[in-house]
Symmetry: C2
């Protein structure tokens, strides 16, 4: 399979679905809706939705069935980007090649656009169409997992660790903990919840959990490497900002070559975790490879 | 019944339950947990949880059963207070007699404490113990209602209308719309979701929905009146701040006496909506009265 083509096709499907996420929501005030849609439509690789679809496919489910979950995961990711970019956090002016949300709509609306996307994600997760594939109690379990991976024990907690670590020197254990919270848990839950919608067995879930954890960390290390040697135009954000902000990163801690090696090792471990799966897990295998070699 | 004693007893139960909300959450970073708990424990009347419990009781349910829902509603309310107080929003220094969250922990952590409480509320709503009283699909319906009332079509949307209205003169229709979004929908869903956990019939839900809408608006008008003629010590926040911030309020629009009259009329309508209920709805009736005559 051609992974670049696969990713482009899946991204198109997610982009299309995201366009219609608010179609039934006639009560949303126009200016807030505009701010939420601005960041939601601002591009991005749609890694989490694509992982959820690929994981659903790997266990024999229909990737399209997982779409409300996929969109909810992207809304949660987008919410975190809007808040992370705020002046009180990372104070970023550009994201995905465009001015950040607060630069366009002001800080107050940017906070609310993030809040709105988070609440709307949970609204979307209760969408009755998901119940065509999964029982109500199965869906509640997914919501519980997603809420945990999003909240203070997951992504939001990770951002608080990041804020606290500013200017401080982290060792490798502390850095890995930060990334496990900040990106690892949401990526991991994207994989496992997609598989649950697809009807995964406990054994399959165990393997996919391991895959998700390895891929999540590999993704972050690759991000750190790109921040050092990436191309600003391809990334849509400034290169070298981690060094300017004195952030602890894998390259600053291990060096560039050792960081790349660690990402490759994690990639190999992620692929090995998929041993019990047949050809339907090929997209997941190729995604693991792609995450480490990508240029943006 | 003595409503003040009832409210004090129910508040104690909610305060106790909120204390243990994070007990099972060993993964939350300590500094974020501290900030979340600071605002959650900073007092407050616990109106939404108490309404959920009273409503559950009115339809013959056990009020204690509704506790995870009650705590989730208070977490959502607290999240909105933390974000509303931010410099980019209302820029308030005091809340419930204490420095606001961002004054103590800084803006970045305050944003994350709000985010964390919102996500954690949805995590709590998936708590398996709620399934002792309600089916998984019933609980999903409640989550969908709560997410809607919280998000861009509800409370978060209302705050965006409020932000946009700053300094502008609203007419009564626009002001009522703002409050229906900002406080009405979450108060209304507190009443209906509590009743759903208690096993309400569709007819009962219809009546309680009407009760919730009237009480929600009465609550807001009473708040506006207190902001003009309340006692700062009892309120725990500054009096007259609406006038200083040039906010459109019911007193500024209708005058003080007509505002009080409107609140009393809504109270009477709320109580009338409970006609089909027996003595078990007495707490709901007394709460409607109390909301209009309260001093804080």
């Amino acid at each position: 399979m051609n992974i670049e083509q696969y990713l482009a096709e899946q991204k198109t499907k997610v982009d299309q679905a995201l366009l219609h996420c608010f179609a039934e929501e006639s009560a949303i005030p126009a200016s807030l809706k505009e701010a939420m849609e601005y960041s939601l439509k601002a591009g991005g690789k749609r890694v989490r939705p694509i992982l959820a679809m690929a994981s659903c496919e790997a266990v024999g489910g229909t990737p399209q069935a997982v779409m409300p979950l996929a969109c909810a995961l992207e809304m949660i990711h987008t919410f975190s980007l809007i808040h992370d970019d705020l002046p009180a956090m990372d104070n970023d002016n550009f994201r995905r090649g465009l001015p950040t949300n607060h630069k366009v709509f002001g800080e107050g609306i940017a906070v609310l656009a993030g809040d709105g996307l988070l609440a709307q994600a949970f609204h979307l997760l209760c969408k009755p169409t998901l119940l065509d594939c999964i029982s109500p109690s199965g869906l509640l379990e997914i919501m519980r997992d997603v809420a945990w991976a999003t909240g203070p024990s997951g992504m939001v907690g990770g951002q608080s660790l990041d804020l606290k670590a500013e200017g401080a020197h982290l060792d490798e254990t502390a850095l890995e903990k930060l990334h496990r919270y900040k990106t690892g848990r949401l990526i991991s839950v994207s994989v496992t919840s997609g598989a649950k919608v697809g009807g995964a067995t406990p054994e399959q879930l165990e393997s996919l959990k391991s895959y998700g954890e390895k891929v999540g960390l590999a993704f972050q290390i690759a991000d750190d490497v790109l921040n050092v040697e990436g191309d600003a135009a391809a990334l849509g954000k400034s290169v070298g900002s981690d060094a300017v902000n004195k952030k602890s990163t894998y390259p600053s801690l291990l060096g560039l070559e050792a960081s790349k090696q660690k990402a490759r090792t994690l990639m190999a471990q992620a692929i090995a975790a998929l041993e019990i799966f047949d050809a339907r897990a090929e997209p997941l295998r190729k995604i693991a490879e792609y995450i480490v070699v990508r240029k943006n």
